[in-house]
Symmetry: C2
Subunit: 313 residues, 2 copies
C-alpha cells in the first residue's frame, strides 16, 4: 500500500495553477499575489481527527485550540500574520452540544488573542468520530516568506524550543511561533523555514529535498524536552530521549536555516528579544545530499526510521 507521503506526491503532481499563485502545494502555506502593493496572501488548511490527533477525554477547549493552532504554526513558518479563519466541524451521531461549545470556546480564545476573525462556521456529519477542519488566511510582506527551498550549503540550522515527547501534553498546548518567526524574517536573511509537525528529522528532510542539499546534525546540540526524558525513564520500552527529540511529531517549533555568518549575531539578538524561549544551533547544511548526525563515535547516517545505532544500555 502507498504511504501518505507517496499518495500526496502523486496527487499534487501537476495541479492546476494560475498566474496569481506564487507558491502552491508543497510549502507550509500557499502564497498568493492578489494585487496588494506590498503583501502576499497566505492560505492554509488543516484537519484533526478524534482518536488520531486528540482523544475523547482531552479537554474540549484544548481540542478547539489545537485545531486552529496547527494552521497558525504553518503561517508562522511563512513569517506571516493570520487574519481570518473558517471552521468545519464534522460531528458524530449523538454529539454533546456542550462539548462542542467548549471546543468553540477554545478556538475563539486563540483567535481573539491573535486578532483573527472567525468568518464562518459550519457543521457536517461524520457518524463515528469528530473531525475538525480549519482554514486560515493571512498576509505577509512581499519577499519575506522563507520557503523550504532556499537553504544553501554552509547555512547554520536552528530550532526553537525543546523537542520530543509532545504527546504527553504539549501537542494540546503549544504556542504557534508567530511573533518569533516575523522577528526572524524581518531582522535576518532566513534561507528556509518549516514548522516541526512530523518530527525534527522528517521536517528537516522536507527542507533538504526542496533545497537539494544535505545536513549534518550535532548530537549534543539537539534540545531535548523534559517530556522526552521522562518518557525514557518511565518505561524500559521507551525510546532514548535523543531519538524522541529527533523523530517525535507535533513539536510545532520553528526549524530554519540561515547564512553561517549570521548565526552568532542571531543567537545574541534572540536572547535579548526572546529570553524565555530556547534557540539552538543544531548543525549545518551540506552540499552532499543525505542527513547525518555527529556524536562522540563519529558521523553516521540518520535513516528514515530514526537513528539506527541507538540502543538502550
Amino acid at each position: 500500500m502507498m504511504t501518505e507521503f507517496e499518495l500526496i506526491a502523486r496527487l499534487t503532481r501537476s495541479l492546476p495553477t494560475n498566474t496569481s499563485t506564487v507558491v502552491g502545494a508543497g510549502d507550509d502555506c500557499a502564497l498568493i499575489d492578489l494585487g496588494l502593493a506590498d503583501r502576499l496572501v497566505l492560505f492554509k488548511t488543516d484537519a484533526i481527527t478524534e482518536g488520531i490527533h486528540f482523544t475523547k477525554t482531552a479537554p474540549p477547549e484544548k481540542i478547539g485550540r489545537k485545531a486552529l493552532a496547527r494552521s497558525l504554526s504553518d503561517v508562522a513558518a511563512m513569517a506571516g500574520t493570520p487574519t481570518h479563519a473558517l471552521v468545519t466541524l464534522a460531528l458524530p451521531d449523538n454529539f454533546d452540544s456542550g462539548f462542542v461549545e467548549r471546543i468553540y470556546a477554545g478556538l475563539r480564545a486563540l483567535a481573539d488573542q491573535q486578532g483573527i476573525a472567525i468568518v464562518g462556521g459550519e457543521t457536517t456529519r461524520n457518524p463515528e468520530r469528530m473531525l475538525l477542519s480549519v482554514s486560515v488566511l493571512g498576509t505577509v510582506e512581499k519577499g519575506k516568506s522563507p520557503l523550504r527551498s532556499g537553504s544553501t550549503p554552509g547555512d547554520a540550522i536552528f530550532v526553537t524550543g525543546e523537542l520530543g515527547g509532545s504527546l504527553s501534553g504539549k501537542h494540546l498546548d503549544f504556542e504557534p511561533r508567530l511573533a518569533e518567526a516575523r522577528w526572524l524574517a524581518s531582522h535576518f536573511s532566513i534561507h528556509a523555514m518549516i514548522d516541526i509537525s512530523d518530527g525534527l528529522a522528517g521536517d528537516l528532510r522536507h527542507i533538504l529535498k526542496a533545497s537539494q542539499v544535505g545536513a549534518e546534525l550535532l548530537s549534543d546540540a539537539i534540545p531535548i524536552s523534559r517530556a522526552a526524558g521522562s518518557a525514557a525513564r518511565g518505561a524500559s520500552s521507551a525510546r532514548p530521549p535523543l531519538l524522541a527529540a529527533l523523530t517525535d511529531g507535533e513539536d510545532y517549533e520553528l526549524l530554519f536555516a540561515v547564512a553561517a555568518r549570521e548565526a552568532a549575531p542571531l543567537l545574541d539578538a534572540w536572547r535579548k528579544q526572546f529570553p524565555e524561549l530556547r534557540l539552538s544551533c543544531i548543525g549545518r547544511i551540506t552540499a552532499e545530499p543525505g542527513l547525518t548526525i555527529r556524536d562522540k563515535k563519529g558521523v553516521q547516517p540518520l535513516s528514515a526510521h530514526g537513528y539506527v545505532h541507538f540502543q538502550k544500555p
Copy 2:
C-alpha cells in the same frame, strides 16, 4: 437534542471579528477587505462525507467534482470569481489509492475549467469513511455581492433552473452558476441572493430571516424538475413533485430577489443571454413575516416541514 441549525446559531453568536471583515459567518461566503483598490476577497469552506453526501459506489471523479462545486456554488451566490482552492482528504483505513486519484481527477477538471489553482492538498485519517473538505478563495468587485439581508417588500423572487429530485443524479453533476450570477450582479440591482442547498423553502427562509421580511410564492410558477416528477410517479410513497421542488436539497440553483420594476427587463435580457437555462419568477417579498404559497385554493402557510396541505390524490 439540538438541531444542526440551532447549534450553528449558538456557535456563531459573537465570533471574534476584526476591521477587515466586511461579512463574517451567516452568508454564502465571508467577505474580506484586504486593501485591494476595487475588490473584496471571498472565503468559503465546505465538506462532504461518504454515506451522507455521496455513496461509495458513486463515480469517484464526480465525488471530487462535487466537493469543489459546492463551494463554487457559494461563490456564485456572492457574484464572485473563485481563484484558489485547498483540498483536505480524510481517508478511511484501507483506502484505494486509484479511487483517490480519480477523485482528484474530478476536482482538477473542474478547477481547470474555472481557472482555479489548487494550491495545497493534504490527507489525514478518518478510519470509517472518506470525508473531503475544500476551501476556496475568490474575489468580487466591491459593492457587487448580493447579501442575504438586502431584500425589501415588493421585490420579485427568481430562481434559476428546475428544482427537486437532485439526489437521483444532479447532486453529482450540477453546474455552479458562476457566470450567470456575475452577469446578474453587473446588469441588475440584485437585492439578495443565495444558492439552494437546503431546498427552495429552507434557503428562501434564510433570506427572509436575514432581511426581516416575508414572502409569498406562486404554486404554478415553481419550476419542477423532471427528476422530481419521475420520483413521484415511480413510488406511491414518494412526495408530490411540487413538494419535492420546494423542499428537496442540493439543487445548487440561484435564488434571488430584485426590485419589481426590474423583473420584466431582467427576464427578457436573461433569455437572450442564457437561452438554455430556465429562469422563473416564483413570487414576491412581503412586509409581513412568514412564508406562504398561493394556489387555486388560496394562500396558505408553508411550514418548516413542507407544504402541510399536500396529499396525494
